[in-house]
């Protein structure tokens, strides 16, 4: 059994109203006023990471709103292998409709910041005591008392625009001025607003404002059928489509209680690693561009393009779309084995040559070393995930810590560095590229025979978590199904965690280094805004 769930049971015996275990997820429904204390204990004493907070509207069935605090409970690694007791602890509290507020945990657990503000905007539940209770998802022109994720809000309504104002944090002093960037940027990137307060070149403060690309995805999930939802999941964060769709499918498969065929697990693994390859190459190309190392950028883009073309040959889509479905995969890739391994072995050599040149260049080293540092304690406090976390000394990787698909059968290392600067993040990515190639080669040589999918027809009511390690980091889906339709689908993209870190990473850096820092964190706007 898991030591953390035992401790919660023992320490909060009188506060727990209900307990429910399904697989690796343990749900504790507790008294509303105990939530802050339990979260505090899980986070500070037991070192469990807060991976998400989300709400559900249960007014019709149970007469209340419910807030879920999702913690990842991980045990110490032994000989680099994971203990099987790893799991998730979900603390739930009920909120009455006539008293729509709850106690904020942000001042105790900093990672809770955006989740609580998101709940405030989408459900109209107010986090009492939140240090920054401004709006997050809905803009100032959004009318009050209109909450998109409440069940009585119709997705087709177009609320009128009202007059409102958004206040930015101000840094004042002699010679301090503001630089406003976005939402339409100079490069070909997604929209978001950045506000730098600077004195000369060094950045004193950065405030980011997002949710320009908010497309109402979570509401849309509740309004479409399950088989259509698969394609929506693919399009939440365009270049992480496989990671998203696999996380979604795994959650639904868990609810349905089906085990997908082994061949499908392997195919999914290969697709996920192909996705990691082109994403990491894109990030390395971006960093090379931003440090004006044009030669490296051109070659890295060339290598990225090679993977995209390989994707198109293997799956018919350059971004690996349309391959996954609930119950397995839609196309077999068995006949493409040779071309994948051929291309990858050439790719490995080219990549090694390029990395040797890149890291040997003094002009690159000068720009990326000590730039954009995220210290370990900040990264932990904000729950930074993915390569950015591993470059700051946090040894977490969903593939190893909460194994899924074919990862339990395959051998791979999780590269971890301590420095937390752009250099470390670039090197972690470069090391992961070699590991990914290794994973694909192992998966190809061990590809089991058999079916690629099983049919999943009726799905009984229930809820479950699906998780993957996207190129950007841990991706989570919490799906609840009622009457064969999605009642609630909470999506947690890795960027939702990592965006908060950029405000710290740029401090004391100069403005021209911001693009490199941004690129090195590889943040998705669409996945964040949804």
């Amino acid at each position: 059994m898991n030591e953390h769930t035992d401790a919660v049971r023992k320490d909060f015996k009188s506060e727990i109203l209900d307990e429910n275990i399904s697989g690796s997820e343990t749900y504790f429904r507790v008294k509303e006023d105990a939530a802050v204390r339990i979260c505090d204990q899980l986070y500070h004493r037991m070192d469990c990471a807060l991976v998400s907070i989300f709400a559900t509207d249960r007014r019709k069935k149970e007469g209340c709103f419910r807030i879920h605090y999702l913690f990842s409970s991980e045990n110490q690694l032994q000989n680099d292998r994971v203990q099987t007791a790893n799991g998730f602890i979900i603390i739930q509290i009920d909120i009455a409709e006539n008293a729509p507020h709850f106690h904020s945990v942000t001042s105790r657990v900093p990672a809770a910041n955006w989740y609580e503000r998101e709940i405030q905007d989408m459900f109209g539940l107010i986090p009492v005591g939140h240090p920054d209770p401004r709006r997050l998802v809905n803009f100032e022109d959004w009318p009050p008392k209109s909450y998109p994720l409440r069940k009585d809000f119709d997705i087709r309504t177009k609320p009128e625009r009202v007059k409102g104002e958004y206040t930015y944090r101000r840094v004042e002093g002699e010679g301090v001025y503001e630089i406003l960037v976005g939402p339409v940027h100079a490069g070909v990137i997604e929209p978001g607003h950045f506000r730098f307060s600077v004195a000369g070149e060094p950045v004193l403060n950065l405030e980011i404002r997002h949710f320009y690309t908010h497309k109402g995805v979570e509401k849309l999930f509740e309004n479409i059928t399950l088989d259509k939802a698969v394609f929506l999941a693919e399009r939440i964060s365009g270049d992480n489509s496989v990671a998203h769709v696999v996380a979604f499918c795994q959650a639904v498969e868990k609810i349905a209680g089906v085990d997908i065929p082994p061949r499908a697990r392997y195919v999914r693994t290969i697709l996920m690693e192909l996705e990691r390859l082109y994403n990491h190459l894109g990030d390395i190309a971006g960093i090379a561009t931003d440090v004006a190392y044009a030669f490296g950028a051109a070659h890295a883009n060339l290598l990225k393009e090679e993977i995209l073309q390989l994707n198109e040959i293997v799956t018919g889509s350059r971004l690996l779309r349309g391959m996954n479905t609930i119950g397995g995969v839609r196309r077999d890739i068995g006949d493409k084995k040779d071309i994948i391994s051929q291309k990858l072995s050439a790719f490995r050599n080219d990549f090694r040559e390029l990395m040797d040149l890149l890291f040997a260049s003094p002009s690159v080293a000068d720009r990326i070393e000590t730039t954009g540092r995220i210290y370990n304690d900040i990264a932990k406090g904000l729950h930074v995930v993915g390569p950015a976390a591993r470059a700051s000394g946090i040894d977490r990787d969903t593939r190893r810590d909460h194994p899924y698909a074919a990862y339990p059968d395959l051998k791979f290392k999780v590269p971890v560095l301590k420095a937390g600067d752009v250099n470390a993040r670039t090197r972690v990515r470069a090391d992961e590229v070699y590991e990914s190639i290794g994973i694909i080669e192992q998966a190809l040589s061990r590809l089991p025979d058999g079916d690629i999918k099983i049919s999943v027809k009726e799905i009984h009511d229930g809820y479950a978590l699906g998780y993957t390690e996207a190129p950007r980091g841990e991706t989570l889906y919490w799906v609840m199904i009622e009457n064969n339709r999605i009642e609630r689908c909470k999506v947690r993209d890795p960027s939702f965690c990592n965006w908060l870190a950029i405000e710290y990473a740029v401090l004391d850096n100069i403005v021209p280094d911001f693009p490199i820092i941004n690129k090195s964190l590889s943040l998705s706007y669409s996945g964040n805004d949804m």
Binding site: F231, R235, G316, G322, L357
Partner: protein, 112 residues
Amino acid sequence: MFDILKKTLKTGTVTVNYPKKPDIAPAGFRGRPEILSDKCTYCGECASVCPPGVIWLEEGMSEKTLTLSYCGCIFCGRCEEVCPEGSIRLTQDYELASKTKDALLTSTSRKL
């Protein structure tokens, strides 16, 4: 410096000659869906599963019409997958750019 030159020379020219030379998408590419009108039975299965909802079945008094718009199509191939008659399939065609939305419609109809 010498290494960079060596790598550059080794790589050579990589630019493709599209659009002067046509570029054919690989087999299995998810391109323009095509309706084979002689096979279609107007069951409407494709219309009900289409995720962006760009396939419509219209049943008038005298004829049935199945219309597909490439505008909004996400090329997922669900229509191809569910069609019981095999009368809709994805092709390797991707040169779909059009100045009007009207040209992106394709329809088949049958008198009742």
